[in-house]
């Protein structure tokens, strides 16, 4: 659905047109039917990548294809719906008038348009009386719902959302998360950026992590977190002397608990316990979260 290869983008600003590389050799692909999370710190290049995909930004070099079509071609936008970060709309229109305007731009008319608007509003729990009020009176949550509603009116094959959950209250986040999952079940591929890593972990099939314009990790959440190693916390019925701990096993602060650095250390500890007749009370494995990995990658990029 999305194929990006060796994408480079440089911004030029100021009187001397000072260059700043926003994207450096970005490559990844999104298969049809996936929910694909795009994460990274502020200014890493998430919105730039999304704007290249939607044809709002030109790029220096590389290849970008949406369903086989370049975003430089208007046709590529017949397949996609897009909600920008903090969407802004014509505030002199009501929410419903705005949806009618965008619906007409994607070729909907009459009863079909009304039906599609109703469907989108129900999906986003936005079928309330405020939808017939002018947009200038809307809260951020209302605006975000209208923003996503306008993007899905044309039932796109690909939905691109830039920070769809930022600034929303927990109920709003839940509604947007559920809407994303429902749309994905209906066959729509979702590509979205987010700062809320817990949400990304819970709903994404795959994730790409971008730091300082470069993709630093890409894969399923499990692949990414496993690649950073798994720790095992083992609790025994009786304390083990620190000097008796096998290689790769360290005390965890509590006398009956120790930490195994990897699978081999875990096996060594379990063998030791069997030999000595020490009962194992509990064993947990702890993976680093996406947040831990992202923090580590940001620190590495800053060095």
């Amino acid at each position: 659905m999305i194929k990006i290869e060796h994408l480079h983008k440089t911004y030029r600003s100021g009187f001397l047109m000072k260059p700043k590389q926003a994207l450096k050799d970005v490559s990844f692909s999104v298969e049809p039917g996936q929910v694909y999370g795009f994460i990274g710190p502020n200014g890493a290049g998430k919105s730039t990548t999304i704007k290249v995909l939607t044809g709002l930004l030109n790029y220096d070099s590389g290849s970008v294809l949406i369903n086989g079509v370049s975003p430089r071609d208007v046709k590529s936008r017949t397949f996609l719906g897009y909600t920008p970060e903090q969407p802004y709309f014509y505030d002199y229109l009501t929410g419903r008038e705005l949806l009618k305007f965008y619906g007409r731009l994607v070729g909907l008319e009459g009863a079909e348009l009304d039906k599609r608007i109703q469907w989108a509003l129900e999906l986003l729990h936005a079928d309330k009386d405020w939808i017939d009020r002018r947009l200038r009176s809307y809260s951020k949550g209302m605006m975000q719902r209208v923003g996503i509603a306008q993007a899905i009116l044309g039932k796109p094959k690909l939905l691109i959302l830039d920070e769809p959950m930022s600034g929303l209250d927990p109920m709003g986040r839940r509604d947007v998360r559920e809407a994303i999952q429902q749309l994905n079940r209906d066959g729509i591929t979702i590509f979205y950026s987010s700062h809320l890593l817990s949400d990304v972990e819970s709903i994404s099939h795959r994730v790409a992590m971008i730091v300082d314009g470069k993709i630093v990790r890409e894969g399923t959440v499990d692949e990414i977190t496993e690649s950073c190693g798994v720790e095992y916390h083992v609790r025994t019925r009786q304390a083990i002397l620190q000097t008796d701990l096998p290689e790769g096993v360290a005390p965890a602060g509590h006398p009956q608990e120790c930490v195994c650095a990897d699978d081999a250390a875990r096996d060594r500890l379990l063998r030791y316990c069997l030999e000595k007749g020490i009962a194992v009370e509990r064993m947990d494995h702890k993976r680093p979260s996406l947040e831990d990995i992202l923090t580590e990658e940001i620190a590495r990029a800053d060095v």
């Binding site: 030109n58 936008r77 802004y88 002199y92």
Partner: protein
Amino acid sequence: MQTFKHIGVIALNTFRESIRDKILYNIGFLAIALALFSIVLGEWSVFDRSYMIKSVTLSVMSLSGLLISIFVGISLVQKEIKGRTVLTLLSKPISRASFIVGKYLGLLAVVAVHLVLLTCIFYVVLFLTGSDPTLSLLNAVYLIFCEMAIVISVALLFSSFSSTVLSALFTLGVYFAGHLSNQLLEQVRFASRMGEMDGTSTAIFEKAAVVIHAVFPGLYRYNVTNYVVHGLALPDMYMFWNTVYAIGYTGVFLAIASWWFSRRDFL
């Protein structure tokens, strides 16, 4: 077909947006007040009352049309960019050229409505004051509309790549150059014939005047107030050729605006 539909949707939205603009109402009310004031001017003036009412009202139409074309025209694209509404709009399957043309037609419709309204008031005033309301006056109104069609395209062209203030200045510059280019050429040629300049200066000034005359749209063609007010006939095919001229210039300006706009990045 889809392109025309997109243009229509954007034009309609631009029309809606513009008729909610306070500037439009201020200009509109001022124009109506001035048109009505022409009756008083007709009484005070040493000229014929009918002449005063007709020439003042046509000038008011031209000036108010110009103010709308420039001040609403230059803000059309800038508002979309600054308000970031352009992001969602251009992510739809519409070309940037459709966006520009839609914006253009929306504002052109606003100017048309404004001129129709003023024309109605114009004829009512002429009837009430018994000032010979001939149909030939419509020729002058139509040519003002053609002139505004060009001015709006100029305003859109400049606003597609420069700031609001610069766009206003550039558009006003083109407007004045377009009105004065013919006089400039005539004056330079007259001075040359009279031998008031030396050979080198004549050649340079004449070439400069010819270039200005050729590049800037000849907006002086659209001022036929003196013809219609005095009941003089316009040359054959004058309306037709000047319509073609307006369409030609507008097409070129919109094509450049679309090309430039399509190269822009939207952050």
